[in-house]
């Protein structure tokens, strides 16, 4: 009721949106949950009942702890609340335990930690101004942005149906991005002093040291913490590193926007390094002291898994695998290949396993790493040589996330959220970005559909997807109605094609006789179709970043 009256008292649309989505999350409690539910329950049990020295050695359950230490501590803290709900879920040997109280606790822990995400969205909306068009609330960029983030379809189904804790992690990421955007960086007291006595009283070097321009240090701090929560964010670390080095450690540019080498600030580099070092020490220090670091790393980076997940994430390798399949079928038809030599294992049969390509060369982890680096490199160069402020950094971050999604080893389809959420921030700013965002989001979200395969959740995923897609497309179209249309005919055709694809995969296919013979066809179709769209979006975004004129000339520190 208290929250209600706050919402009512100020007529605040933001809290209404946040509360609305929170209530929707509460309604999603009884829905299907995946094995990740058991994974997190097991981690609760491990961190609660075992000493630190055994956290990364415990292997009673097959779902061993494979997140960095901060996440383990997070589970540790949660477990001290969990014991008031149900003591039994904290027993390591109680495998696959899920009482109704356990369910309630776990679901509520996700919903509750999402408050950090809500706060981060609030901060993002404050600092990211978009195009200003109409006076009406529903046409304001801030409103659209907060709906796009808070009601994000992917986050809703991955966190609140499938079950994971992405909400607060993305909250940390968005918060650190917001801090890099924000201009006033001082705590309240100095700001007051500054305002009352005028700016002249502070010598320029002092403002620089204090980081008055932007809250870079805070952003770096948050990102370092985030890395020690979940290491998947390493994908976007290059963007952070280069941006902070280029735009924070070098305090000035030449008039033409290129770097001024003598403006390098050692104080800033050292303070940044110190922050990152201290956080890492806090996280990994105990394990270093216990001499367990190799074990921790072997848990964090399991390279024994295959190139693709059981369901191919819609990236470059999905296209590669599909091409290989097509070639092998053609080869068999035309008698170029010997049927006896072809390995029987089919990639979509459901198990995570090594897979040998029949025609094309097999892919090694090293090859994917090299591909990823090559794909990231141009965007990094772009960030270094024509820095465009925080916006340029955001683009680079998205490109890093997308490129590693495209070429990474054993990528999960959920990783697309890493690109979608930051992209939302860009989408309200420019028509071109909005167009890329819509293609990326719609295809990316559609590619999450196979996560939920049970019948009662089918209407939910379709309804929520329609809700988000219709809202995002039409609100962004209204926002950019004065510019050229967001989609060309090809893109429109592609996006409309998702509808028939869904009908075929979920409604028509189960009725056909192929259901038993080729059960993998719907997944294969989905992932190849989505891979096309995501590759296209990636390409389009890359082109727009590379040909954009630098705005560094006008920017002065």
């Amino acid at each position: 009721m208290a929250a209600l009256t706050i919402a009512a008292g100020t007529g605040n649309w933001f809290s209404a949106l946040a509360l609305g989505v929170t209530l929707l999350k509460c309604l999603l409690i009884p829905t299907y949950h995946s094995t990740d539910f058991e994974v997190h329950r097991n981690w609760l049990a491990i961190t609660h009942s075992l000493p630190i020295s055994q956290w990364y050695y415990e292997a009673t359950s097959e779902w061993t702890l494979d997140y960095p230490p901060f996440f383990a501590w997070f589970e540790y803290i949660l477990s001290h609340v969990a014991k008031y709900f149900d003591q039994e879920m904290l027993n390591v040997h109680n495998l696959n335990y899920s009482s109704s109280r356990t369910l309630l606790f776990q679901r509520f822990s996700v919903i509750f930690t999402d408050t950090l995400f809500v706060y981060a969205v609030h901060e993002c909306c404050k600092c990211i101004g978009g195009k200003k068009v109409g006076k009406e609330l529903t046409e304001k960029p801030k409103f659209i942005l907060s709906v796009l983030l808070l009601w994000n379809f992917g986050l809703l189904i991955v966190d609140h149906i499938h079950f994971q804790y992405n909400g607060f992690l993305f909250g940390l990421m968005l918060l650190s991005i917001a801090r890099l955007f924000q201009r006033q960086g001082l705590p309240i007291l100095p700001r007051l002093v500054l305002n009352s006595w005028g700016q002249a009283i502070f010598p320029p070097w002092l403002t620089k040291v204090l980081g008055l321009q932007k809250r870079h240090m805070e952003g770096a701090f948050l990102f370092a913490v985030l890395l020690h929560f979940k290491h998947i964010y390493l994908y976007v670390a290059p963007a952070y590193g280069v941006y902070l080095l280029r735009s924070y450690c070098f305090t000035a540019n030449r008039p033409d926007g290129s770097i001024r080498w003598n403006s390098f600030s050692f104080v800033r580099v050292i303070s940044l390094g110190l922050v990152v070092f201290l956080i890492s020490a806090l996280s990994l220090g105990p394990f270093l002291a216990l001499n367990q670091l190799p074990q921790v790393f072997s848990r964090l980076f399991p390279f024994k898994r295959g190139l693709c997940h059981a369901y191919w994430a819609p990236n470059f390798w999905a296209l590669y695998n599909a091409l290989d399949k097509v070639l092998s079928v053609i080869g068999l038809k035309l008698k170029f290949l010997d049927p006896n030599k072809i390995p029987k294992a089919s990639m979509t049969s459901g198990l995570v396993q090594q897979f040998q390509h029949t025609v094309l060369p097999s892919v090694t982890p090293l090859a994917t790493l090299i591909c990823t680096l090559i794909a990231i490199l141009p965007s990094i160069f772009c960030l270094w040589f024509k820095p465009q402020g925080p916006r340029g950094f955001l683009r680079c971050l998205i490109l890093c996330a997308l490129s590693s999604f495209m070429f990474g080893w054993h990528v999960h389809e959920k990783a697309i959220l890493l690109a979608i959420l930051p992209m939302s921030l860009l989408s309200v700013g420019k028509a071109g970005d909005a167009s890329v965002f819509l293609i990326l989001t719609t295809t990316g979200h559609y590619s999450l559909f196979p996560l939920l395969f049970t019948a009662p959740e089918l209407p939910i995923k379709i309804l929520l997807m329609l809700l988000f897609t219709i809202y995002s497309i039409s609100s962004l179209k209204t926002l950019f109605r004065k510019e050229k249309p967001l989609f060309n005919w090809m893109e429109t055709f592609y996006l409309l094609g998702l509808g028939p694809l869904e009908v075929c995969c979920e409604f028509v296919f189960p009725l056909t006789s192929w259901k038993l013979k080729y059960p993998f066809i719907p997944l294969l179709l989905t992932s190849v179709y989505c891979a096309l769209g995501i590759t296209y979006a990636w390409f389009k975004l890359y082109v727009s970043v590379l040909i954009d004129p630098p705005i560094g000339k006008t920017k002065k520190q």
């Binding site: 009721m1 209600l4 009256t5 919402a7 009512a8 008292g9 007529g11 649309w13 209404a16 509360l19 609305g20 209530l23 929707l24 509460c26 309604l27 999603l28 409690i29 009884p30 829905t31 009406e136 529903t138 019948a455 009662p456 209407p459 939910i460 309804l463 929520l464 329609l466 809700l467 219709i470 809202y471 039409s474 609100s475 209204t478």
Partner: protein, 484 residues
């Protein structure tokens, strides 16, 4: 409409909430021997599919009326039959005679929930959207906010998708009726309303305003000319639609009588359980149910209902206006609920009041959540707490007329605001108490009786309030006409 996408979003939100609520438990899940309304609906599919029409409403060896016998009008039975054909196609076990009693499975639950959703999607939701689009003199934003509030209304969602019933069908038809009548498609409107009555007899609550409004329209056009033609047309439509619905039962007099007896179970007494109407609340002080003989109870309740209806209805006949019509609909339904015979707690569709029922069905979580969602939707779109003006409460004319007699009476809107807050707070407190506290041993029904009593007071207040609006509004309208 320029904002069509917002309307689509609103509809999709409504649908999502409906489906997520439906994932929860239903009434009487796993509780033999009688189960609950879910089993009743399934049983009707079984009966209508396996027995000939003539036996639907009769007690027989195949149709035990004590076990969820059909007690709704024919349209419900036809709907059950239609669902049964689909069920037969999917899994014949679901509707096998005798053996399917108490059948429960995940797939069957999914099927039943889907039937509700489809009925809702076909009848109720289009009616709501169209109704909100046809509202006059308000901005597009307000229309969409209206639609959101109506679609998120928790009472209907919880009873239909949690507890399990098909209220949205009859309410949807009634809404189509309202829509038709207020847009001057009188024939279509009355046809839709006849369908509503033939789906659930509860819609009779709304029948008097319909009748009065249409009659008033005829009078307005002049009974000797166009009005008479309209009246005849209307009568023909109503009679024809009724005959069409009742056709299989009109062949024998006994059939019709039996159906009517099933629909209006007069012998069940003045009230059952705890209902927030006058009789039940009065029962705390005086046990009318035991003192008076049944036929006197019947006459008494009829008289009270009729008297409470009378003023609003007469007003409507004399001055038919679509605004007055809507208010009369509400006030009539309220007075029926308060004074009439054998009322069900579900018929008011108010959440706080159905709480014991929902608790029994293990629907606490969705009910709390949807109610809060509804409140937020209402609060943010209309900000009730902020600017309650007399204008918005439609009480301007009343307060003006009162002020001429009582000059000191100027705090009306403030008073109403406080009253509203107080009643909301008491309801919330009572709800909390019912959920958390155990009642004292001597009075096991303490909380539910208290809830009944408080809501009864509230309803009485609303009845008076709506009647005041109806009475004074038309006067004001006449004054305005005089001025212009």
């Amino acid at each position: 409409m320029e904002k069509w996408y917002l309307m689509t979003t609103v509809v999709l939100i409504g649908l999502t909430v409906r489906w997520t609520v439906s994932l929860n438990s239903y009434s009487g899940a796993g509780k033999p021997p009688m189960f609950g309304d879910y089993e009743a609906q399934r049983h009707w599919q079984e009966i209508t599919f396996n027995l000939p029409v003539k036996q639907w409403y009769f007690n027989s060896s195949d149709n035990n009326l004590q076990y969820w016998g059909l007690d709704y009008p024919p349209l419900t039975a036809y709907h059950s039959l239609l669902c049964a054909y689909v069920a037969k196609f999917i899994n014949p076990d679901w509707i096998a005679l005798h053996t399917s009693r108490g059948y429960e499975s995940q797939a069957h639950k999914l099927f039943m929930r889907t039937t509700v959703l489809i009925a809702d999607l076909l009848i109720y939701i289009p009616a709501v959207v169209l109704y909100c689009c046809c509202l006059k003199e308000i901005s597009t934003k307000k229309k969409i906010a209206n639609a959101l509030c109506i679609l998120l209304y928790p009472g209907l969602i919880l009873i239909d998708y949690g507890h399990f019933q098909y209220n949205s069908v009859s309410l949807g038809f009634a809404l189509w009726g309202v829509l038709g009548v207020s847009c001057d498609w009188d024939l279509l409107g009355s046809l839709a309303f006849c369908l509503a009555i033939n789906y659930k007899q509860m819609e009779l609550y709304h029948s008097l305003p319909f009748f009065c409004f249409l009659l008033g329209k005829c009078f307005k056009k002049g009974l000797k000319g166009k009005g008479f033609v309209l009246l005849v047309k209307l009568a023909c439509t109503v009679v024809a639609s009724f005959i069409l619905c009742w056709l299989p039962f009109f062949t024998e007099g006994e059939q019709t009588l039996q159906v009517l007896r099933r629909l209006f179970p007069v012998d069940r007494g003045l009230f059952e359980d705890k209902v927030a109407n006058i009789w039940c609340s009065f029962n705390v002080l005086l046990k009318i149910k035991d003192i008076l003989p049944r036929h006197i109870q019947l006459i008494m309740s009829f008289c009270f209902t009729f008297l409470s209806l009378l003023p609003a209805c007469i007003k409507l006949i004399l001055q038919p206006s679509s605004k007055g019509f809507k208010f009369t609909l509400v006030s009539c339904a309220l007075s029926f609920f308060l004074f009439s015979f054998q009322v069900h707690e579900k018929s008011i569709l108010l959440v706080s009041f159905m709480l014991p029922l929902l608790l029994k069905d293990e629907l606490l979580m969705p009910s709390v959540v949807t109610t809060m969602a509804f409140f937020i939707a209402c609060v943010t779109s209309f900000s009730i707490f902020e600017k309650t003006s007399e204008e918005e409460l439609q009480l301007k004319s009343f307060s003006i007329s009162v002020r001429t007699y009582l000059p000191c009476f100027t705090f009306l809107s403030r008073i109403i605001q406080y009253l509203f807050l107080i009643s909301v707070i008491t309801m919330v407190l009572l709800t909390l108490m019912t959920v958390t506290l155990d009642p004292p041993q001597k009075l096991p029904d303490l909380f539910s009786v208290l809830v009944c009593f408080v809501s009864c007071l509230n309803f009485l207040f609303f009845l008076v309030y709506f009647n005041i609006i109806i009475m004074w509004d038309s006067k004001n309208g006449r004054n305005q006409k005089k001025i212009s």
